[in-house]
Amino acid sequence: MNNHTPPSLFLRFFRWFCHPDYREDIEGDLLERFAEKVEKKGASKAGLFFALEVVKLFRPSLMKNFTGQTQINNYGMFRNYLKIAVRVFRKEKSYSLINTFGLVLGFLCCMMIYLFISDELSYDKFHADGDRTYRVASAYMREGRWEPYASNSWRTAELIETNFGEVEELVRIMTNRDIVEYGDKRIYEEAMAVVDENFFNVFSFPLVAGNTASALRGANKVVISETTARRYFGDEDPMGKVFEVDDRAFQLQVSGVMKDMPSNSHFHFDFLVSSESLKRLAPEELFTNIGWDSQRVYVKLTEGVDPAAVEERFPEFINANLGFFTTANFKLFLQPLEDIHLTSNLGLELEDNGNITHIYIFAVVAAFILFIACVNYMNLTTARSLRRAREVGMRKVLGAKRGNLITQFLFESFTMTLLALVLAYGFAHLLLSSFNEFAGKAISRSVLFDGTVLFTLFVSFLIIGVIAGAYPSFVLSAFRPINTIKGGRSNDRKSHLLRKGLVVVQFVISIGLIAATAVVFKQLKFMQTKELGINEDLLVAVPLQTMDRSQLNAYKNELLADASISGAGYANMRLPGWISNSAPYRAQNVEADEEEGKTLKIIRVDADFLDLVDAEMLEGRGFSKDFPSDVTASVVLNEAAAAQLGWDDPIGKWIEVNDNRYTCIGLVKDFHFESLHRRIPPTIFVMSPVYYAWSYIKIDGNNIPATLAHLETTYSKFVTNRDFSYSFVDEDVRRQYEGEAKFTQIFEMFTVLAIVIAGLGTFGLISFTAERKSKEIGIRKVLGASIGSVTFLLTREFIVLLLIASFIAWPVTYYFISGWIDGFVYRTSIGAEPFVLATALAIVIAMLTTVFRSMKAAMVNPVEALRDE
C-alpha cells in the first residue's frame, strides 16, 4: 500500500450526491479501484480515472433524494401561507380589493411615468458619436441680457470649420418648406431640410437605399424618408425619381431613402436636400453674410477633445473673424447633442423640446404615488391585524417562532405585490396606446419587454414587497399569544399613532398635489387669457405667399368691399411669432458708446395694422396714408424701445437703422407680439411694403363660414399657384402654450390618481375604525346617541388629521411652486385660493369616503354589535 489519496474534490462531490444507502460500499469500491490503478498506472492517471468514475456514477438511480425530508417542511409551510393568504383575500374581499386596487393604480402610474421619463431621456442617444457631437449655438446681447439662439450663419459655420482643427465634422441644417410635385401629386412639404453632404457622418440615420457617403453629394440631390417614398411612389423604386419643387423652379433627384427618423430625435425631416442645391438657388451674398441667421450648426469633435477648451477659444475667434459681431454683443457656445432635447430652450429651436424640470416633477409625483399606495397597504394590513390576532396566537402556541410569522406576513405582502404588479403590467399593455395619444408620445409596446424595464419591475417588486410588508409583519408577529387567545385587545396605541402619522403624510401629499395642480392650471389660464395689449378677437391671419406685392391695395380694397370685413392690414411676420429681425442703430441724443452692440427689433407694418389690432398710441400718431413720407421715413417705437434709447419725449427725434434715417412719429404702448415666455423686446415699427408677408383681416362674427369663403375666393383671384390658408390669431396665441397645456393635463391626471389612491386608503381605514368601535357605537346608541352624532364621532378624527396635514402642506407646496413659477417671465400671483381650494377639496373627498361608511356603521341595530359577548 502507499499513501496516495484520490482527488478530494471528486470524493467530496461523490459523498454529497450519492444515496446514503449506497455510499459506503461504492466508496469502498472506488478507493480499491483507485489503489489498484495507482500501482498499475501511477498516481496521476489513477486520479484522472477516479474522477471519470465519479462522473460516471453521477446518475439519478444512485443519487440521494434532493427533495428530501429536510426541505419538505418549508415547502409545506409556504403552501400553507399561500393557502391562508388566499383565504384571507376571499374572506375580506373589500379590504383586499381596495388594497390590491390601490397598489395596481400606484404601479400603473409609476410604470407610465417611468416609460415617459425613459423615453424623454432616450432622445438623441442613438447617434454613434453622439457623445462628442455638439450644436454650436449663439447669443446676442439685447437690453443688457444675452438672448440665446439655436442658429448661426452659413459663413460663421465655414469660419469655425477652418479655424478649429478639433472639429472633425461640421454639418449645417437649414429648415425649408416648399411645394413638391411628382406626377399628379402636389404637396406642401413642411419637414424639409437643406443639409451638408457629411450629414450622415454626424447623425446615425440608417439608409434603406443609397449610400451614406455619397447620397448628398452634388446639387439637386435629395434623401427622403421611407414614409415619404411610399407617399409619392407607392411600391415603385424611389431611387432616381425626380421631384419638381417650388412650381418647377428646380428639380430634386432621389439619391437615397432613409428609415423614418425615430421619434426620440430632436428633429424630424422627410426631405434632406443637398446643400450644393442651395448654392445654386440662393444669392451669393447670403453665404458671406454673417447676419444670415438660418443654419443650425452641428460639430463632431475629434476624439478626446475637451469641449470646454474649444469654447474657451470662441471669444478670440469672434473678435478676429466676425466683423460687426464682437464679444461685447455676440457669443458662441456648445450644447451636447444628447442634452438638447431636455435642457435647451433657445430661440429658433428646430422643434419644441422637452423640459428637464418636468422630468424631475414627474419623478417626484411617481415616488409620491407609490408611497401613498404603500402606506395604504401598511395601514390596511395593520388595521386588519386584530382580526388575525387569534391566528397569530394559535400559530405561536403551536410552536411558530417570531421569524416564521414575519416570513408568513412578508410572504403575503410579496404575493399581493406580485399580483398587483402583474395586473398593472397587463393594464400597462392595454393602456399604452391611449397613454401615447394623451402624452403625445410614440412609445412602442416592445419597450415593455425591454430587459431594463423587466429588471426594474423585479427590483421594485422586491423593494415594495419589503416596504409594504415589513411593518405589518413586525407588528403582527409581536402579538402575545395569551392576550390574543383570551380575546383581549392587544395594546396597539403605538401602531395606532403611526397609522395616524401615515394618514397625515398621505393627506399632505394629496393636498400638496391639488394645490400645485391648481397653481399650474392658474398659470396656464393666465398665459392663455392675459391681455396682450391688443385686440386679437376675430382677427384672421392669411399668409400672402406668392401674391404680387403691387396688388396689395387692390386685394385689400376687394376684401373691404364685403360688409363682414371691417379692416385689413399687412405685416412682415406672423402674429404671434418670433421677431427674428433685428439691427444695430444710431439715434439722436444717444452717445455712440451707448449704442455699441445694442440692437432694436424691427417689425414692418402697413398704415392700417396698428389700428387694426387696437394697439394703443401713447404719444404722437400711428402711420397714415395722409403722410406719404411715412412709407420711407417714419418710425413708431414701443415703450421698451423708448426706454432703451433713453428718450423721454420721442416724437420728432431721428433714428438710423440699416442706413435709413427715420423720424419718430409715435409711441405705442408695449404689447405682446411674441409668446409670454419672452419679455417684450425694444421694437420699432416701420413701413416697408416689399417685406409684407401676412395679411390680417378683422371680421365680424355673424357668419364666420361665409366670411371665410369670401376670403378664399378673393384670395384665389390674386394668388393662383398656392392654396389659401388661414388661422385665427386668438387660437394661435393659445397654441403657443401647448407645451404647458400638455404638462398641466398630465400633471392633473396623476394628481387625480394620487387622490383616488389616497381616497381608497381613507375608505379602508374608516371601515376599520367603524368595525373596531362597533361595540362603542352600540352602547352609545343604546344610551340615546343619534345617527348624526355617531357619524360625527367617526369622521371627526379624519377632519382633524386633514387640518393638521393642511398646515404642513401649505408652506411646503408654496415653497416648491413659487420656485416653479419664477421660471416664467410673465406669471400669475400664486395667491391663497389654490391652498384653500386644496384643503376644501380634500375635505370633500374625505367626507365622501368616510361619511357613507360612518352612516352605515351608525345605523346598525345596536343588538347586532352587542349580542356576541
Binding site: M1, Y22, E24, D25, I26, E27, G28, D29, L30, L31, E32, R33, A35, E36, L52, E53, V55, K56, L57, F58, R59, S61, L62
Partner: protein
C-alpha cells in the same frame, strides 16, 4: 415466458455474480467481467445495474466485514436469489431451444 425482460448487460452481470458465488462484490465483479469478456466496465454502470437487479428481486446483498484496505469501508456482497436462478435457467433453455431449432443447412 417473456416475463423476464433482461438486458444483455444485466444478464452478464447476473452470470458473473453467480460465477463468483460468495465473493461477488463491486470490484471483483468488474474484474471478472473484464477478464472473461474483454470489455471495460465502469463502477457507475455496474452499480446501477446491480441496484436495479436487486430491486427486481434477482439479487440480494449483505455487508461483509470491515478491513484495513479500502479506507475501512465494508464490501457489499451480492448473491443470486432462487428467483434469479430460475430466471437465468429459463433464459438459458429458451436460448438452447432456439439453437436446436436452427436447421443444419443454415450454417453450411
Amino acid at each position: 415466458m417473456g416475463k423476464y425482460q433482461l438486458g444483455e448487460f444485466e444478464e452478464v452481470v447476473l452470470l458473473t455474480v453467480a460465477i463468483l458465488y460468495g465473493e461477488a462484490y463491486g470490484i471483483a465483479i468488474i474484474e471478472e467481467m473484464e477478464k472473461r469478456l474483454n470489455r471495460s466496465v465502469s463502477i457507475g454502470s455496474l452499480q446501477t445495474v446491480l441496484r436495479r437487479l436487486e430491486k427486481k428481486g434477482f439479487l440480494t446483498s449483505e455487508f461483509g466485514e470491515a478491513t484495513q484496505v479500502r479506507g475501512g469501508k465494508r464490501k457489499r456482497f451480492f448473491t443470486v436469489t432462487q428467483y434469479g436462478r430460475k430466471t437465468m435457467e429459463e433464459i438459458k433453455e429458451q436460448r438452447l431451444g432456439m439453437w436446436s431449432a436452427i436447421p443444419e443447412v443454415a450454417f453450411k
